[in-house]
Subunit: 348 residues, 2 copies
């Protein structure tokens, strides 16, 4: 366990969850589920006991430094990595990977988002423990594949060669971008397609080799930064050289190119909570299909709504079907759930 | 002018305007129109110049004393009459009438609500001035009749004998309670039916005689209170004896019984602003029929809504047609405008 690390990516701005999530205070820092813990805190909670607190790494934007420190007071300061600008996930993971391997050359690293939801934490922990065990002694990248429960068009997919081994962990056949509905339906029928949850497990050697092979430019940026890790001027040098990294996701940069990838098909009630619709799907419902976060909501002749309001606020809603009603910091949004992909436009 | 008085009734609780209006802070004390003045202040403004400030009388509930003093700092303290309990309009008017006639035996008295709206103030003032002139030297009760513009079923009506005189002021034929739609349509066609705006003008003698004749019990309560008006113990005695008054409106108590009533048909953009619908009708609209009070409201694909929110609050509404969206003191209401008569039920 002492060699297990988790890299939590917490730099997103969560624009699809406006007005609950804003660039100043994105959703990973919010108690989205109304359970008393923010999504970031819930992410850390899930790994407690699997990974020592000294091995939690949070990569975020400079502007969220104080939010992270406030919400995760137990994480060592030097484990909070601050990006001076947004460069998508590949540079973020390389930064953490290079810094970890300098001090822990044989580390096992789990990479995860900070804003996803898991309902079956026990199964999650079993899967993570087995995944670390698998990658500890193999040169494979392991990705978690979520057993699909519907023909979701909002996720990427990963297909597995399921008949080559009896083990739970299978070789990856291919990564697939977000499909059309008819293609998603095919995937669901095929049985060997899984949602790409963006949770990767690998050891430092695999991580380093993958970057060297598929993203040599990014590898070279962090090679040159090696002398400054854990030093007083680390941040200053990061601010100077991090922006040179290509703006690219880990999927495009490595996963879709690498050959030795395996997938662990799993079911632990995962949701990326990427949209109001997915939050609506995850929360408990009343008999009319309404879901609330807020302790004083009265629904009259209303159904299929998601209501997310500050604690202490009183809301009475009558005659609404299929709407989002969300308030945060003096901004109220009322819009059709089916039009949620246009929230960015509404918020302008 | 020195003998002209106005009695402003400001004790209502405005329950149909929830959550903007609450029993703690009813609509007459609110800037309902978003113009910077509350309905009570606008009522006082309309009489300025017609009636000296020393002759403004406000009758309200004890609980609203500080609201009245705060909003009308120029009104003498002894002109603010505090009811210990709600007894409808007849006892309220008798209290003010008896107190006024003790000090001003030949006063002309205009009685008005505090929560109505008038758009043509110049015409209003002409009508009031002429009404006072009319009642100064006659023993008639004069009521203002609003020229109806639609078959409104939410107002009472007063019918006039319009062909007996060329003067603007006509004898009343009858008072009519809120009609059904078909009856209201008949009234509109008939041409001699007017909305009863609840604005009465009479002199102290007519007022006193009317109460003695039609409400002797109420007259007797205030006869016995005469020694205490303008004294230190006035409030104490009012608190003790006012509750003995019958709970009855001036319409039932006097207007529907009295014979010598006249009506002044007039058009000065009057609205009782009794409901969200009437406020919606009075406010300016955008091209989709939306009306706002609030300076940061964005409507997308929405029409025929009334939005009433606190200053500084931001609201984005998409895909709503015919709704009330109203917020006050941390309570938000979203409901269909067509169901506004059920707001009391929603608010429970």
């Amino acid at each position: 366990m002492q060699n297990n690390h988790v890299v939590i990516m917490a730099g997103g701005i969560g624009s699809r969850f406006w007005p609950m999530s804003t660039p100043e205070h994105p959703k990973q820092f919010i108690d989205v589920l109304g359970c008393g813990r923010t999504l970031l805190q819930l992410t850390v909670d899930r790994f407690n006991g699997l990974i020592p607190v000294s091995n939690f790494w949070v990569v975020t934007s400079r502007r969220y430094e104080s939010l992270v420190k406030e919400q995760l007071p137990d994480i060592p300061q030097s484990n909070i990595l601050l990006e001076p600008c947004m460069r998508n996930t590949a540079p973020c993971i390389a930064y953490a990977g290079w810094k970890i391997k300098q001090r822990y050359p044989d580390a096992n690293i789990v990479v995860t988002s900070s804003d996803h939801m898991v309902t079956d934490v026990e199964e999650f922990r079993r899967v993570i423990a087995k995944s670390i065990e698998f990658t500890k002694n193999t040169p494979y990248i392991l990705t978690l594949g979520m057993q699909p429960t519907r023909p979701e068009t909002g996720y990427g997919y990963v297909s597995a060669r399921i008949d080559v081994t009896d083990d739970e962990i299978k070789p990856v056949e291919a990564f697939k971008e977000k499909p059309s509905l008819s293609v998603a339906e095919e995937y669901l029928r095929a049985g060997n397609y899984f949602w790409n949850a963006g949770i990767f497990i690998w050891n430092t050697h695999t991580l380093e080799n993958s970057f060297r092979l598929y993203c040599p430019a990014i590898a070279s940026v962090f090679d040159s930064l090696m002398p400054y890790f854990y030093q007083d001027n680390e941040q200053k040098m990061i601010d100077k050289f991090f922006p040179e990294c290509e703006n690219i996701s880990i999927d495009y940069a490595i996963m879709e190119k690498a050959s030795d990838i395996h997938v662990f098909p799993a079911s632990f009630g995962w949701s990326d909570l990427g949209t109001w619709g997915s939050l609506h799907a995850q929360l408990p419902h009343d008999t009319e299909g309404n879901a609330f976060v807020g302790n004083n909501v009265k629904m009259v002749e209303s159904g299929n709504c998601i209501v997310h309001i500050p604690e202490g606020k009183r809301v009475v809603i009558q005659g609404l079907d299929g709407y989002i009603v969300a308030e945060k910091d003096g901004t109220l949004l009322i819009c059709k759930l089916q039009d949620e992909q246009r929230i960015k436009e509404f918020s302008k």
